[in-house]
């Protein structure tokens, strides 16, 4: 990916470049045929993710959920100052990570799925050994306020954090020392993310700016701002690293081509006025059929008994000829999970289930699974079905509710 876009204009757009009437002629951008050849089955107009697991146990709103990069686990963090690790396939509760003194806002997995980083209202970042459930002894101290967002670099050696203190910190994960602090924003930093090769960092803030930083030098390379200047609460790089997806409090998600600083898509249809929602990119194809999914689940069951070292990616691509389309999944303040097709901006599905705001949504690295966490203290796992549910009665039947150990033993019941 290095070296491309060199032919693009290097300068940011002029003052009024974003206004529709004065915008320059659209640059020819269709180097890759974006739509599939005609002989492929038509792109599905809707998706049918169904609620399969409800994971209960958190005693506060669930602020962030993440699938592990190897696909085996779900980590969820909550305002109750705990993190819970669940088995992504069965929904069994594996560990509860306790140690933070205040609510946890954000979590991030290391690329090898062995370590989980968490950022909390107690101004610290902690690392956790997932296999043992034990915290790493040294917390990351340096931020002066609540930590809102963090991300681990693809090489697993750098951690970036964004905080209410308006700074972005880069940390050496091995030594837990800050490497660099970026004088990032003039308002709390809501989201940070690494690009897939780790050379760029994106940060966003409620001052309405999205800034792109060079990881190696710590310099700001680009600033993106929408004309209306809405507060940006969350950002994510696209899987190929060419776009940035940004959640704003004007009820929109925007896709930016950051190389030229241009908004290419605006996704609307969810409610987002108050909360810092987050979401993820996912893929779908016209050929996904349930039997196939079922079989892959069985494979996963087999690998589950082996040690962590031997786990292979659960799913292989079902067929090389399958054309993949991309969707964006996000929570909504009306309790739904909304999926948009990236190119057409059409809503593919509104998945209802949560009671109240859905704060976090993440997609499985290989399977057509989605996990969500909401203010209703639950974590829910959704899986793709080939057709819409026949009757509402049947639909309800196969939802499995799982509780963490505390709940089952009845030692600490939910108040």
């Amino acid at each position: 990916m290095q070296g491309d876009d060199m032919d693009m204009p290097d300068t940011p757009p002029s003052r009024n470049g974003a206004s529709p009437t004065s915008s320059p002629e659209p640059i020819q951008r269709r180097r890759i045929p974006p739509s599939p050849p005609r002989n492929l089955p038509e792109r599905p107009k809707e998706l049918h993710y169904r609620q399969k697991l409800i994971l209960r146990g958190h005693r506060g709103g669930v602020s962030c959920v993440k699938f592990s990069p190897n696909g085996r686990w779900i980590a969820s963090c909550s305002a109750d100052a705990t993190i819970k690790i669940w088995d992504a396939l069965t929904g069994n509760h594996e560990h509860t990570l306790e140690g933070h003194l205040a609510g946890i806002n954000t979590i991030s997995w290391s690329p090898d799925s062995r370590i989980l980083a968490s950022g909390s209202d107690d101004k610290t970042i902690r690392l956790w050994h997932v296999s043992t459930g034990k915290p790493h002894p040294t917390p990351f101290l340096g931020h002066h306020n609540t930590i809102f967002s963090l991300a681990i670099s693809p090489h697993g050696n750098i951690l970036v954090s964004g905080s209410y203190d308006e700074a972005v910190f880069l940390w050496d994960i091995r030594s837990a020392h800050p490497m660099r602090s970026l004088p990032a924003h003039s308002d709390p930093v809501g989201g940070v993310d690494f690009i897939r090769d780790g050379t760029l960092i994106v940060s966003c803030s409620s001052d309405g700016l999205i800034r792109i930083w060079d990881t190696a030098t710590g310099q700001c390379l680009r600033t993106i701002v929408h004309e209306d200047n809405p507060a940006v609460t969350s950002v994510r790089f696209s899987p190929n690293g060419k776009f940035i997806c940004a959640w704003t409090l004007d009820g929109a998600i925007r896709l930016w081509e950051y190389g030229v600083g241009r908004c290419v898509k605006t996704y609307q249809g969810h409610v987002n006025k108050k909360y810092s929602l987050s979401g993820a990119f996912g893929t779908y194809s016209a050929m996904s059929s349930p039997p196939e999914v079922r079989r892959e689940e069985d494979d996963a069951m087999d690998t589950e008994v082996e040690g962590l070292e031997n786990v292979t990616p659960i799913a292989r691509q079902s067929s090389p000829s399958t054309h993949k389309y991309a969707f964006i999944a996000s929570g909504s303040e009306d309790g739904a999970i909304v999926l948009w097709d990236v190119s057409s901006k059409e809503i593919l599905q509104r998945a209802e289930g949560h009671d109240g705001v859905v704060l976090a949504v993440d997609t499985h690295p290989t399977e057509p699974w989605i996990v969500s966490g909401g203010i209703d203290r639950t974590v829910r796992v959704w899986r793709l079905e080939s057709s819409p549910p026949g009757g509402s009665e049947k639909g309800k039947e196969d939802i499995v509710e799982k509780h963490d150990v505390d709940m089952v033993d009845g030692i600490k019941m939910e108040e």
């Binding site: 491309d4 693009m8 659209p26 790493h136 090489h155 091995r174 760029l200 060079d214 390379l221 680009r222």
Partner: protein, 484 residues
């Protein structure tokens, strides 16, 4: 992926200019970049090998096993294995997956330099002090050592006319430096009489010899492409020599002639050079100077001195150039610190404010026809959304342009990456200073963390035999290779 956003003017610069950082862990003596360029291995005076992470400037791993100064380091092609040669007369092959010692090979003399075969990490070549160099096969637990010749290749006529004196001299030659060509098919060796031998790896025969210098050859480095060689000799001259394509199966060693392309020297100060290296492309040659604080950088096009890197107030030893960035590392001889030079990029202010553009000169602004027309907000919003009709591809990962295939293979998914260890700093009991709080440091007691020294040395049977004879004697003379 940051390149599309970086100032092209900065990208065009290919020679570092400013001291930008320093790394420290014990007293480093030798350094070597990994092929991917994200790690720097450093061998210390106390025998420990420290792996630095260049992205964080932190310590990524420590490898303990040698008891004396580390002479040289060599990475395998996939950056998983590291070969270290030490003055404790041993070479160790490390697996960076878990930091274990795969093989330990003991020699009957201290090694000058050991280098792994570029395609086989279980084969290496080593130049030994006052011994013949060896090609060592460590496929098996018991290493197989093949002695390589150091005597120059003589034609039949020369052999017939050879005097007894000359034959004796030839026999007395030893190689002071050995290096593989990038294909691994040949070994380039330099001798203590200034000869350069090209030895075929498979047959272990000298194919070609030439006398480049009247003095000792101190160091030979080849570019990644293998078509250029830089030779440091104790006659205070650095020579660059273009090599023919040694991978060509029809190469004619009989009629081959190696010509010196450039001779770099300082005629005024008569400086001698500690260590030399090529830049990533071979365009530049860098050298650290004896009894001097500077690093000289020559470009090879015209053979001119282009830069002198300054900064540290001490003599510099080993100097290394990053495999693909304008980035130079050098080791301070007195302090053992690793100094880093690179390009300092100024912050572009236009990057901070999207409304601003940096222009060369005043630009007259031409207002567009409808630029300040007042339109209903809803109308603008609607039109804006309608304009977003293009297809976007957020999934396809475009291949990296302008990157060598070998480099791309290292960056590919599934390529080996050293695991990130969290407790490096805490286990770092050999560093003399430990942090006990913000800004507070204290010295550590010297005895802690030396338990590994009592470990039994893993080695082959014949290695054990020699262990008794060389276990006590400190190898002498190995450090003095630059003087003469």
């Amino acid at each position: 992926m940051n390149l599309s956003l970086v100032d092209p003017f900065i990208l065009a610069q290919d020679c570092p200019d400013t001291l930008t950082g320093r790394l420290r862990s014990g007293h480093a003596t030798s350094i070597r970049f990994s092929h991917r360029g994200d790690l720097l291995a450093s061998g210390r005076l106390d025998g420990t090998v420290v792996i630095f992470d260049i992205e964080t400037n932190g310590i990524a791993r420590k490898l303990r096993g040698h008891t004396r100064q580390v002479q040289s380091l060599s990475w395998s092609a996939d950056d998983r294995y590291l070969l270290s040669a030490s003055q404790d007369w041993k070479c160790v092959l490390w697996d960076l997956q878990d930091g274990s010692r795969i093989r330990t090979v003991r020699f009957e003399a201290p090694p000058f330099i050991a280098e792994l075969h570029p395609k086989n990490h279980l084969l290496f070549v080593v130049a030994l002090f006052e011994e013949q160099p060896m090609l060592v096969d460590i496929t098996d637990e018991n290493p197989i050592k093949h002695t390589l010749p150091s005597a120059p290749r003589r034609t039949q006529a020369e052999k017939d006319n050879a005097t007894e004196k000359q034959a004796a001299q030839d026999a007395k030659q030893t190689s002071t430096v050995t290096a593989f060509t990038p294909s691994g098919d040949h070994i380039v060796a330099g001798t203590n009489k200034g000869w350069l031998n090209i030895i075929e790896t498979a047959s272990r025969q000298t194919m070609y010899s030439v006398r480049l210098t009247p003095n000792i050859v101190i160091l030979i480095r080849l570019t990644a492409a293998g078509r250029d060689m830089v030779v440091n000799s104790s006659d205070r001259i650095i020579r660059t020599v273009p090599l023919p394509d040694l991978t060509d199966p029809n190469i004619d060693f009989e009629n081959m002639r190696l010509e010196v392309e450039h001779k770099f020297q300082d005629l005024v100060n008569r400086l001698s050079w500690n260590h030399v290296s090529f830049s990533s492309t071979g365009e530049y040659v860098t050298a650290s100077t004896w009894m001097n604080h500077d690093i000289y950088v020559w470009e090879r096009g015209h053979g001119s001195l282009v830069k002198i890197l300054e900064g540290p107030k001490e003599e510099l030893g080993a100097v290394e150039w990053h495999p693909h960035r304008p980035f130079v590392c050098a080791v301070g001889v007195d302090s053992g610190r690793v100094y880093l030079w690179s390009i300092q990029t100024p912050q572009r202010w236009s990057a901070l404010a999207p409304d601003f553009v940096e222009v060369e000169e005043n630009v007259e602004y031409v207002e567009k026809e409808d630029e300040f027309d007042i339109q209903p907000i809803e109308e603008i919003h609607k039109r804006r959304l309608e304009d977003e009709d293009e297809d976007v591809d957020v999934l396809t990962i475009e291949p990296i342009k302008g990157v060598a295939p070998a480099q791309a293979a290292l960056e590919a998914e599934g390529a080996f990456r050293m695991p990130v260890l969290l407790d490096i700093e805490n286990s770092d009991s050999e560093d003399e200073v430990v942090a006990i709080g913000t800004g507070q440091f204290r010295r550590k007691s010297p005895a802690t963390g030396r338990e590994w020294m009592n470990e039994e040395v893993v080695g082959s049977g014949d290695d054990r035999k020699t262990a008794t004879t060389n276990g006590t004697g400190r190898p002498n003379g190995t450090k003095r290779r630059r003087g003469e």
